[in-house]
Amino acid sequence: MISDRLKRVILTELQLDEFSLEDSTIADTVPGWDSLSHTRIITAVEAEYGIHFKTVEVIRLKNVGDLQALVDRKLA
Amino acid sequence: MRMMENGARRFVAKGLFLGVLFYAVSLLFSALFAQAWDWRSWQDPRKRLLYEPVPGNSDIILLGDSIWISSYVKSEEDALWKVLEKLTGKRVFNATLNGADPPDFLNAVKLLPKRETTGTVVFLDVVPTRFLPRNYVEPAQGNYPGEFSGLVADGLIRRFMVSLRKPLLVFDTDIVMNCLLRKTYFSVGDDRPRVWAKDGDFALKRFQTFERYIVDTDDLRRMDWITGLKTALDRKGYRLVIVVTPVNQFLIREYAGKDKAEIYLTRISRARGALVRFLQENQIEYVDCSGEADADGFADLIHTNARGDEKVAEKMAGYIRLHRQE
């Protein structure tokens, strides 16, 4: 389950109004999500939640579900 | 074959079949080409060794490098091999190659047919400057490794490949291209009658290159490749005769500084002396043509033009006449 807060951050960064983000969604399928915007999204997520990711953790992310799980782990 | 899978068997069979078919077709095209065209007359007469089998009935064979390819004469009639033929009345085969070095000479010997009776003379030009050390390394395989590897080969597999490749004229790029456009080989571009002192800075530039590459030392390079050559020729029934060709001392005095000129002349003279001694010690016959050409007989430091070639040819003809009885 992707939280609305996370969805909002991602969609704002990509300047998208509506897009279905599920656990299994990968970056390639989302319009505008390339390597440049990827780092912007990560930075925005960190700023939104006040957390910091390690480089290795970011590289390991395979899909949006992984990102949500990572955020949850950092907040816990 | 039985153990191989279907696909593999099919591929091998098809591959062999296509290989043989392609070879046969190419052979056919080559045969047609050879019939329809007198391709030999279109080729470079200065590279005869590479495309013409050396006739078994030659009386004289010229072996050597750029000094004897007659670059600086008007037409093939004035080329050294033609002049020598006229003077001696014998059959002369030109087996020289531009820029050849000792490894190339040895390869050339491999192309000569074996003679039953010793009688055919092989003249080799050796200029004394060959033994002055230079500061670059000459390739160990000679300057025609590609060409010779397609003509002579050691080892069974290579020899088999060469014998397969040889009849396929149609794939010999040089031969075919020479037949497409009629080329002038004499009196064109830099290769024309010229005299060093009356021809701009052609000879001067060459001499400056010479000075750049010659090492300042009194040592001399090895001469034992000559004995190796003699042994190889003896085995095939030929007589090796070294022709010591002249060096343009007039040019040296003109273009080198005063002191430098003396040093060069001394070193060249010593090289010549050492060469002659070496030949005498090893019982190798020779004709000494040093000083045969006058100032107008040279195109540059070591290459003679028609005038110089004639003088050298006369001396060689004199040798032939002298040894006719033997």
Partner: protein
């Protein structure tokens, strides 16, 4: 043993025949021994030792990483693996030049550093690193069989010049049982023949001209320098893609599909696109294992962080090709192009969108031409004998070109009579030689264009066999087989 040598042909035939008769469970051994023999034929025992060391250590570390539960230790093991491989790479590649500087007496004078010989190491060490990284990231399971793992690293078709294979792509193929496929054999043979043509008839022939000019840049004017640079761009593509095609073709004989390394690189519309089409396996490697981590690490810097990551990535690329300033400059140029585009591209797209020619075909053409020239500019430094030479070429490229073009137009009909117009193009070689070069390029161009239109394998034998014969004849006739050019002196 080069692919275009008689010895390799014999070697391949023998290995393939033995492979057919080997029982399935020992087939990996046949290929491994063949690869060993292939590598040994280079007569550099240090390389065999490096391959063995990398194989054993990477195999062991792979299992350690997979089994390690603790995240921090897992990462540390990965770093050890990376360090070992980079260490071996640096040692082998840079040993001789470093020794030459530190203790010149140890390095015999005049002995050539065989760049070709060290390239094998550059490839399998990178492949080992990506294997370990993929295990760490959970993308692939470690290979159980040490022999098969060593084969994965040292498989002879890809040993010398890649492609760099991902574990997920190659390992399963090595594990699969083998059934000889006639289709694979046929397409493999055709691919090999095409690669051979590209290497001997196009690349080697262009080299004759390029070597003349780049070997003595000060003797040539702008037109010649320009021509030689364009020729080099084609030469290196034909050379590298030709070699890769031969590798892919040979691998197909064993039912192994290696990754495509090239995809019409000079049709790229941007330098970024170029790197998605040139040496694909290598650029994917540096993208995944150097650029992405750095970009994430430096995300605080925004676009500047990305730009810096690109510069470092391509600096690595330059150094990986060789220890010479020319390669470094080449790498940094590409890094600069890409870093620049990070800032330039969004702005340019916005303008194009606003003006409405975002997808205009002319824009694509302009982009392609500009990209090609940027890449050529970088090739100058890659090829030039020294940085000074490269700089000379760059600054004198356009010298006299305008005047030349004007003069050429005026005398178009009698061009061959004007020596001063013809010489800069012939570069001191004869007209027939130039015509041969044009013929090679014509065959290359035509066949490349027709390849996709005419699916040659689908046609009947009446079409296929003459086509094969034409290719074989073109290779035999137009191919350059002796070592290009020689330096001789008769003064």
């Amino acid at each position: 043993m080069y692919f275009n040598s008689l010895a390799f042909g014999v070697f391949l035939a023998v290995v393939w025949l033995v492979y057919q008769f080997t029982p399935d469970r020992h087939r990996w051994l046949a290929l491994a021994l063949a690869s060993l023999g292939f590598y040994a034929s280079l007569k550099a025992p240090l390389l065999l030792f490096a391959l063995g060391l990398v194989a054993i250590l990477s195999y062991a570390l792979g299992h350690c990483i997979a089994r390690q539960e603790n995240d921090a230790l897992k990462l540390r093991l990965l770093w050890v693996g990376i360090a070992v491989n980079i260490g071996v790479l640096c040692l082998v590649k840079y040993l001789q030049p470093i020794a030459g500087v530190l203790c010149p007496s140890l390095v015999p004078a005049g002995r050539q550093v065989n760049l070709f010989v060290t390239i094998g190491v550059s490839y399998f060490t990178l492949q080992a690193i990506c294997y370990l990284a993929d295990i760490y990231l959970g993308r692939v399971e470690p290979e159980r069989h040490l022999g098969r793992f060593a084969l994965y690293l040292g498989f002879f078709p890809k040993l010398l010049q890649g492609p760099i294979e991902r574990a997920g792509d190659l390992l399963p193929q090595l594990q699969a049982p083998y059934r000889c496929s006639y289709e694979n054999m046929r397409s493999g043979a055709l691919l090999f023949a095409w690669g051979l043509f590209k290497k001997t008839a196009v690349a080697n022939r262009l080299a004759l001209y390029v070597n003349t000019v780049y070997g003595d840049v000060h003797s040539y004017g702008g037109v010649s320098l320009l021509m030689a640079t364009y020729m080099y761009a084609i030469q290196i593509y034909a050379d590298f893609s030709g070699y890769t095609d031969m590798a892919l073709g040979v691998a197909r004989f064993f039912n192994i599909r290696l990754t495509q390394n090239f995809n019409s690189p000079y049709l790229a519309t941007s330098v970024a696109d170029f790197w998605r089409r040139w040496h694909i396996s290598f650029s994917r490697w540096i993208l995944d294992y150097i650029f992405r981590p750095l970009q994430v690490l430096w995300r605080g810097g925004g676009n500047y962080g990305t730009a810096a990551a690109l510069l470092v990535t391509f600096l690595f690329s330059g150094l990986w090709h060789g220890v010479a300033w020319g390669f470094v400059i080449w790498g940094l140029l590409h890094g600069t192009y890409l870093a620049g585009s990070v800032f330039y591209k969004p702005w340019a797209s916005r303008i194009a969108q606003r003006l409405g020619f975002q997808n205009h075909p002319v824009r694509r053409v302009v982009q392609t031409v500009v990209t090609f020239h940027l890449v050529c500019m970088a090739w100058i430094f890659f090829r030039a004998g020294s940085v000074a030479d490269g700089w000379y070429v760059l600054t004198h490229l356009l010298g006299g070109v305008g005047g030349y073009l004007a003069a050429a137009f005026e005398n178009l009909r009698h061009l061959t009579q004007h020596k001063e117009l013809v010489d800069p193009i012939l570069l001191g070689k004869t007209l027939p030689r130039f015509l041969l070069l044009l013929a090679s390029l014509a065959v290359f161009g035509t066949a490349s264009l027709l390849r996709d239109c005419i699916r040659i394998q689908a046609r009947s034998a009446w079409v296929r066999w003459p086509a094969y014969y034409l290719l074989a004849s073109a290779t035999a006739f137009l191919g350059v087989y002796n070592d290009v050019g020689f330096v001789y002196f008769q003064f």
